[in-house]
Symmetry: D2
Amino acid sequence: MWLHVSCKLVFDIEIATPFILMLRPRSGAQQWVESDEFKISPNVPIIEYTDGYGNLSQRLVAPPGKFSIYTNANVKTSELLDVAFGAPFVEIQNLPDDILCYLLPSRYCESDRFNDLAMSITTNLLPGYNQVAAIEDWLRNTISFIPGSSDFPISATEVNYKQSGVCRDLAHLGIALCRSLSIPARMVVGYLYQLEPMDMHAWFEAYVGGRWYTFDATQSGPKGGYVAVGYGLDAADVAVFNQFGPAVFPTEQMITVEQINN
Amino acid sequence: MWLHVSCKLVFDIEIATPFILMLRPRSGAQQWVESDEFKISPNVPIIEYTDGYGNLSQRLVAPPGKFSIYTNANVKTSELLDVAFGAPFVEIQNLPDDILCYLLPSRYCESDRFNDLAMSITTNLLPGYNQVAAIEDWLRNTISFIPGSSDFPISATEVNYKQSGVCRDLAHLGIALCRSLSIPARMVVGYLYQLEPMDMHAWFEAYVGGRWYTFDATQSGPKGGYVAVGYGLDAADVAVFNQFGPAVFPTEQMITVEQINN
Amino acid sequence: MWLHVSCKLVFDIEIATPFILMLRPRSGAQQWVESDEFKISPNVPIIEYTDGYGNLSQRLVAPPGKFSIYTNANVKTSELLDVAFGAPFVEIQNLPDDILCYLLPSRYCESDRFNDLAMSITTNLLPGYNQVAAIEDWLRNTISFIPGSSDFPISATEVNYKQSGVCRDLAHLGIALCRSLSIPARMVVGYLYQLEPMDMHAWFEAYVGGRWYTFDATQSGPKGGYVAVGYGLDAADVAVFNQFGPAVFPTEQMITVEQINN
Amino acid sequence: MWLHVSCKLVFDIEIATPFILMLRPRSGAQQWVESDEFKISPNVPIIEYTDGYGNLSQRLVAPPGKFSIYTNANVKTSELLDVAFGAPFVEIQNLPDDILCYLLPSRYCESDRFNDLAMSITTNLLPGYNQVAAIEDWLRNTISFIPGSSDFPISATEVNYKQSGVCRDLAHLGIALCRSLSIPARMVVGYLYQLEPMDMHAWFEAYVGGRWYTFDATQSGPKGGYVAVGYGLDAADVAVFNQFGPAVFPTEQMITVEQINN
């Protein structure tokens, strides 16, 4: 299916503020970006680079006053998620080198503390996809998904204690559980078609059966329509914007995802 | 200045043909790509990757029949080229690691055979920018620039023997001469505003005074308006399209570069 | 100064166990590895790769039975650490792209929670080296360094609560404090000449004044003799060994660091 | 089998001369470097980096006077080369991204000019390994291997015209022929056990059946004992030493390869 996605952010800047942005989707194995636009106003110098996870990032210094960022893209993505019950666990010695980092604990995914819970959720299951699917189900049934309930990232341990969270929180806990079983898992931030309420979204991917599969405990069924804009170990790596100096927050934020014919 | 650039290629394919394309400009130190579009018809699967020189490349298999590629972008670039007489030669030991490869001879730039000529062109000049500027002048005065006179790349040695060539040929000879003086030099393919006749263009960059400078012996004066789509050692690395199997040639090719307000 | 460093690890393996090792020092800006040796017994297949932080890592599957790893190297390193009071804070917009990741919070360095403490430690100080030196002093005076007091990594928050820790713990807290001031900081694991008691060691580096400087709150004065074997965001990235499956611990561990003439 | 390899180079330097060296073997899929030593005298500063092909390279400035480099290593490598008649040609669309560069023509391998010859050598053969084996045989039977007959690299076209050459020359022609058939091929420089006369050696690898295979038209049979020190497109990328400024040549050069028990 083809989607037109857009994100508008407006800030009220008091002092010149360095920003690092991650709002430009890239083409990859799971999506094709046919066109994209990235506008800032006022038109300050902007430098684009590729980060260690392959994400396109933009660096700029926002000047005092109103500062706006508007990005949009036309992207081809799958209408249905791939489902692969039975896809096997990949033995550590057979994982590609560049996948190994997704086994490590990270800021918001303390996988070194979740082995017991992960074992209890996945008892007697075939190692691999089935374990991840069970983790996703457990999240769906156990952790209340409450959009808008959190302003800043908390860690998997904190999410598990609260038993509720935003999409990012459920993803963090899912990732921590997967990694504690030695299944590589990573955070994805992006857009989702028909998300309610519409916003930027977060989900996770797990590496089983020789490839990445998408999991999202905030949704049900294999409905697709995902457009990734950033990949990383967790929310620390895939902030839509990182801003330095005194905190500034968007005074306006507008996300759209529409199906188009192409 | 802001430019709208576009390239349309149409092929008549007889048997399924793998392509590697390099037609998507990236943002970098010298240009900012605000928007871009990359359309193919029919809509076969396409995979994008970043090559060893940082270029965005697309892989696909064109099916039999009419196959078209249409790309365009809005890009901010300089109206005037930076000129820096006196910018010094960078000692080998001070070159960044990732610049060193641009000292080596390559397929179409046999820099190992051009030291005598380069020395004679640059006698008594301050090492660095002034040498490259002298090489550019020498090319402009010595090698006849005849657009459309060549269908496939020839090497600097062959260009020097012919004493004439297309833009690519002059760039190859310029690069070979620079490298023979231990000045890193690289090929650039892209668009140029007001190029006559309009076409994809090729020029070269030399690394002096701690950064890359643009040189183009086919033009006069420091007129800018360059939009890079690919960087490499020479034309072998920056073919706008690489096609495998029985040769196919575009049945239609349309390039545009227009100034826009933004 | 020249150092001969060695590490011997012996394990008693019950079931075939995948390992990822990080025990091979590399040459870099701060050290030159003239020779090195990496022996395992029994001689199972071993694959070496470079991780995302540039570390040489080795992958293997240890078979059941006694399994030993022995590595050693002759390394040239500085006798005294560089000290640079006054070296300035690098503005975010001027940091090299590949340094930016060292600003982010990580598993054991929750820098997003330490801004108040960091501000109070560095009140009125010139931004940059002086702030990091104050953080190092504060660690030295506040957090009791108790070698051998911990078996597994705890996070900066936990270290600050305990007010004591091993070298790794002090480094984690130092890194979290630096990053909370937008100073890039990274973990280093390696050898230290005359460390008491001798063991693998951990310290941190901060990026100020355009380069990395070494800091170590467990030592006093600018004494050098450091040999790095791994760099990363924190201990999650630079485990000397990562082992998968049921936990195994060394039954023997022997570290040596001796000064040599070369 | 285990080999102890060593290379000693001595230069008589007149003016301070920048060098880039490639004499340090790395562990990889085909060899394991258990120990290595890299000594220079006098002991000037030396910086090691990894080039775009993954080779360890060293940069230094040799001071006036006698300058020597001595490297050695203990390496585990195969006693017999893998032979895989029938291993299939990999379709372009299925080649890994980072293999694609080995399809391109390069300085000493003008593969864009060898398609007719390659077709005639491989008529009616199964695409893939069998074609490369036929090319190797053709080289062995057609191009006289004359060690020591050349001081500097010449290109495949020149080798084919001369009908004789050193190991490097045969490798260049072999690579050009493979690439002209869209088979990725790369140059390897290193050591070979029982090479006569003993010297640094060059051979090539071709990518068929999903992996790299070794080919060496200067030897007969599947005898192994190869230790790679550098990989690249051709000799331009894998010079054991690159030196800048007025040419200097080794006044002494000593290569050894001995089998050891380990």
